[in-house]
């Protein structure tokens, strides 16, 4: 280990693995370490025995749950947008070859206490119980405008300047009703609170386009989401492999590892079991750095529930998402439900896993999840996890520490990848060019 590297990466969470892969491809000599004996850190998918070790040390899983290794339980549940940034990075780096994905069956939204499918196309919109006939027509007109909108072609703007016009005004222009706005803003544009209404409309128009472009990215899909077989923990492993293929060295199982600093307080290596690997800078998740280099931005509460059935009222789907817009539950931010099953090789035969997650708003986070848990039906086993989401407050140019943010409650990976791309730019001074490969493919 007493060698020198360009960079030591601490923690094998998805963000650290993406960065490790990208930096290795860029020609840097990378040493990647983790205190745990498994890949994925905070964003791992755990086997049953690993899960019990984490949440119920000393107790064994019930026999009815089947073999431990049949389970790959995500610690941070999210789905991937089929046309989103993560897919772009996967395609760009050809990491896709290590993974297999399934389309998520459906995306649902809570309205007035009932679960509705978010219409994926015209036919579903017509049949949808989300709104009346006239409202359907107004929504359709709004969506046609959005899909036709082109930032570079003023003809498509219909005289409106979306860089200034608040989103609430754009909805008003098309006469879209409040309940429709609720599902368009939260379950289609995927905003996690209503704060977006006062902001310029352009961002929401782009997010709405991303949603529908993702729905049509693959044939046979009825939602904008995809999910990897064997769970999200496959993603960090796949990027770690990319890094290794480009010469990255991997050392798991380093419980005592610490970042080493020089006299000026600049990170200069990583020490573990008495030896030190020298490097020019360090990348890592907040848990590997002194607490004063980061701060708690918010807390997230998550429930993991094992079930013997799909979530009721979701068409017996093996994979779904349910978005509960803040207004529907009287909260300040949305709550999310995810479900996947043995069909994704994440649970033993016949079992389903439902996840609920939300940003913590009160002193009793677990109680906050009640309205979501009520949608699930009987649950065989459940685990709760409350975690602090930390974000860096240090100056990497001074201390050589490039620290990733924790994983937020959002339903997909857009913010995850944005964080990686921003750090990549800070480290290399260059933007990652994602357009090149995409172009050669078409």
């Amino acid at each position: 280990m007493d060698e020198s590297y360009d960079v030591c990466v601490c923690g094998t969470g998805l963000k650290e693995c993406i960065l490790s892969g990208l930096l290795s491809v860029a020609g840097m000599k990378v040493l990647h370490l983790d205190r745990n004996g498994y890949y994925g850190g905070e964003s791992a998918s755990l086997s049953l025995s690993q899960l019990y070790e984490k949440f119920r040390p000393g107790s064994a899983p019930s026999e009815t749950l089947g073999a431990s290794r049949d389970w790959n339980v995500d610690l941070v549940p999210k789905f991937m947008m089929a046309n989103g940034l993560l897919v772009k990075v996967l395609v760009h780096t050809e990491v896709t070859r290590y993974l297999e994905f399934k389309a998520v069956d459906g995306s649902y939204v809570l309205q007035k206490g009932k679960v509705h499918k978010v219409p994926a196309n015209d036919m579903e919109a017509l049949r949808s119980g989300l709104m009346g006939l006239f409202e359907k027509r107004r929504m359709r007109n709004y969506l046609l405008y959005v899909m036709d909108y082109n930032e570079k072609d003023p003809k498509t703007w219909k005289g409106m300047d979306l860089t200034r016009m608040p989103m609430s005004e754009l909805y008003k222009y098309w006469g879209v009703a409040e309940d429709t706005i609720d599902f368009l803003g939260h379950a289609v544009a995927l905003h996690s609170s209503d704060n977006y209404l006062a902001q310029p409309a352009l961002a929401t128009v782009k997010k709405t386009k991303l949603y529908y472009e993702s729905v049509v990215r693959f044939e046979e899909t009825n939602s904008p989401y995809i999910y990897p077989l064997y769970g999200l923990g496959e993603l960090p492993q796949a990027f770690a492999r990319l890094s290794a293929v480009y010469g990255g060295t991997y050392m798991l199982n380093q419980p005592g590892m610490t970042v080493a600093y020089d006299a000026s307080g600049k990170a200069c290596g990583v020490t573990s079991e008495g030896s030190t690997a020298a490097c020019k800078f360090v990348v890592g998740d907040p848990s590997y750095f002194a607490p004063e280099k980061t701060r708690v931005s918010h807390k997230v509460v998550r429930a993991i529930c094992f079930m013997n059935h799909p979530i009721p009222n979701t068409g017996d789907s093996h994979s779904v998402q349910i978005i509960m817009p803040q207004r529907q539950t009287g909260r300040k931010s949305d709550m999310y439900v995810f479900c996947c099953s043995y069909a994704h090789n994440v649970a033993s035969k016949g079992k389903f896993i439902a996840f609920v997650c939300a940003t913590v708003e009160t002193d009793d986070p677990v109680a906050e999840l009640r309205p979501a848990l009520a949608l699930l039906g009987p649950v065989e086993e459940q685990f709760f996890d409350i975690s602090e989401v930390r974000e860096p407050v240090n100056d990497p140019s001074a201390d050589g520490c490039f620290i990733t943010k924790g994983y937020d409650a959002t339903t997909h990976f857009e913010s995850t990848v944005v964080d990686c791309l921003e750090l990549y730019k800070k480290i290399t001074g260059k933007e990652l060019d994602l357009t090149e490969k995409e172009l050669t493919q078409q």
Partner: protein, 203 residues
């Protein structure tokens, strides 16, 4: 026979420098380099064996085995494993045995395993004094554990094709169960051709 090519994943394991990458290089590209760099870059090779209706996806360790840090993904879905040691290195033979144990722990019943005693050319030349692991000992170990066994040389090509062909013949033909899973989507490659078909139809 059209359309009957099945993809199978084959993984390599073994000590650093035992010759994993050289064996793959010899098998896939038909050449050998005296100063093969420790694996970088090309750790994902494929070889089609039309006569057997197979396309092998060959995974090389990419150095992740150095500190025992291979990811579960590496073994996942593998139909075959080649465990390589160097006949001039007893340490590499001991390591090979520990890889065999590790693979057996993974509990994949359908996995076909082969033990390759590589660098046989070093043991064959002159008085063979460089040999440190006897073929008899390895054969006995392989028989005990139900492994195929061959001594190979990536340098002279001895037994290299034989090794991969013997493995390929032993692999179960049916696609692994998870590949029958419905509605999997393929990213990359033909993804953009697949998509955009319904590009007009949102709400």
């Amino acid at each position: 026979m059209e359309g009957t090519i099945v993809n199978k994943k084959l993984v390599l394991l073994g000590d650093m420098g035992a010759g994993k990458s050289s064996l793959v290089q010899r098998f896939v590209k038909g050449n050998f380099e005296d100063y093969q760099e420790s694996t970088i870059g090309a750790a994902f090779l494929t070889k089609t064996m039309p006569e057997l209706g197979l396309k092998l996806e060959i995974w090389d360790t990419a150095g992740q085995e150095r500190y025992h840090s291979l990811a579960p993904m590496y073994y996942r879905g593998a139909a075959a494993a080649v465990i390589v040691y160097d006949v001039t290195s007893p340490e590499s033979f001991a390591r090979a045995k520990s890889w065999v144990r590790e693979l057996m722990r993974q509990g994949n019943q359908d996995l076909v395993m082969a033990l390759a005693g590589n660098k046989a050319d070093l043991a064959a030349g002159g008085d063979g004094s460089e040999r440190k692991v006897s073929a008899e000992e390895s054969q006995a170990y392989a028989d005990e554990n139900g492994l195929l066994f061959l001594e190979t040389s990536a340098k002279t090509a001895q037994n290299v094709n034989e090794l991969f062909t013997a493995l390929a013949k032993k692999m179960p033909r049916a696609p692994p169960p998870q590949q029958q899973a419905a509605n999997t989507v393929q990213l990359g490659g033909n993804a953009s051709a697949q998509g955009r078909k319904r590009a007009s139809g949102c709400c």
